[in-house]
Symmetry: C2
Subunit: 216 residues, 2 copies
DNA sequence: TAGATTGTTAATCGATTAACAATC
DNA sequence: TAGATTGTTAATCGATTAACAATC
């Protein structure tokens, strides 16, 4: 096993995907897979798969392949999915509600503990047992309940201020759905879900061939 | 102006972001920006910004910089955001509703024309003037209304079948929110929003420093 | 042992950065 | 004209792929 000091983000982004395919294999009762078979399944090259996995350790066995269960568990641990995360959502609009419902139905290690709002009409509402609370009480709540992750489902104008408050209150990560880039202190991780950026690149790809024709 | 036959996806993914920052500059009434200033703002290197833009043409002026309005418009055209896109949503759950509402409030060139469901309880419902219709009628609807984009907000098990149907009916692009990788014919673009993958990489980054300590 | 397949090094490819000539 | 800043080529860096020795 080789020790890698710095693992590139490109590798990390592939791990959840590997894990998804491994889960499907588990469901089908397949207990062993070679990098070549896994390549056919996922579309990544066998070489890349082996290279990626070897950043974290030798999970395979020469002449045999990888144990599906074993690899699934290893990747889960690498990603930190063997732990529980307590989360709060800021913004009880449709998106905030959708996320609250999602995590409620698909029980995972990610638990929504509260939803915060400034709109008084929404405060007091319940979304699947989760109370919508006053945004003013968020710092106290995060501190008292050892919240790990803050989910930002606000407008873009409010997002940075909310982020600052959450960081101050002590979260370790932010999951940002607002269409802005959030600044955080070094020790707070941020993951952006820029939904409309994604739609814009879809638009590009739909017009791509046309653009090329025009140029000819 | 240099002609680039193949533009890398890394470049395309940066364009919506450039555009967002340009929009903010417009709002502030700033009408000119140099690649250096833009670098400070966005965090990309000045070199990369100039390199990216020159894939599409020389939009700047030596000794002056880039016109904010001009560049905003150029990028909009490159992405195809000067056009209108008719869309349908498949799946009227929370996520489908959230997207329907979002596009309704933030009027853009992306128009939701219908939402489709298999659950009879939801069929007939209205979400901001948009009717929830029977999934069985989707092919006819897409054909009759020249729908451009299909938005998949179903479970992962239904996603591929829905994708096939939408492709058959003639959409040009799919925006997939289901946690699977969708296969489409060559000419149909796909953009994935793998929400839980994103949460999983957030979990990794929150544990990263800890992993490194353990290794020492 | 022979066959298969990993782990790992080396080669290639592509993307980012640096440098500078062109030019406004 | 002098100064500034782009457009573009060349250098560097990093990520992917290929090759093969190690080993189960």
């Amino acid at each position: 096993m080789k020790r890698q000091t710095k693992i590139s983000n490109a590798v990390i982004k592939r791990l959840p995907r590997y894990r998804r395919y491994l889960r499907e294999l588990q469901k089908k009762g397949i207990d062993k897979i070679s990098s070549n078979e896994f390549s056919n399944l996922t579309g990544y090259t066998a070489s890349q798969i082996r290279q990626d996995l070897n950043n974290f350790g030798g999970f395979g066995q020469q002449g045999y392949g990888y144990s599906v269960d074993g690899l699934y568990n290893e990747i889960s641990v690498i990603l930190g999915l063997d732990k529980e995360y307590k989360m709060v959502i800021v913004g009880a609009g449709n998106l905030g509600q959708a996320i609250a419902n999602h995590t409620y139905y698909y029980k995972t290690g990610f638990i929504v503990c509260g939803i915060f709002e400034i709109n008084p009409k929404l405060i007091g509402m319940k979304i699947n047992d989760i109370e919508v609370m006053d945004y003013d009480s968020i710092v106290e709540f995060v501190e008292d309940n050892d919240i790990d992750i803050g989910i930002i489902c606000t407008t873009k104008d409010a997002a940075q201020e909310v982020a600052d408050k959450l960081c101050f209150a002590g979260v370790g990560g932010l999951w940002n759905f607002a269409p802005v880039d959030i600044e955080t202190p070094h020790h707070v991780a941020v993951e952006n879900m820029h939904i409309s950026d994604s739609l814009h690149s879809l638009a590009y790809h739909m017009n791509k061939s046309q653009n090329q024709e025009e140029k000819k």
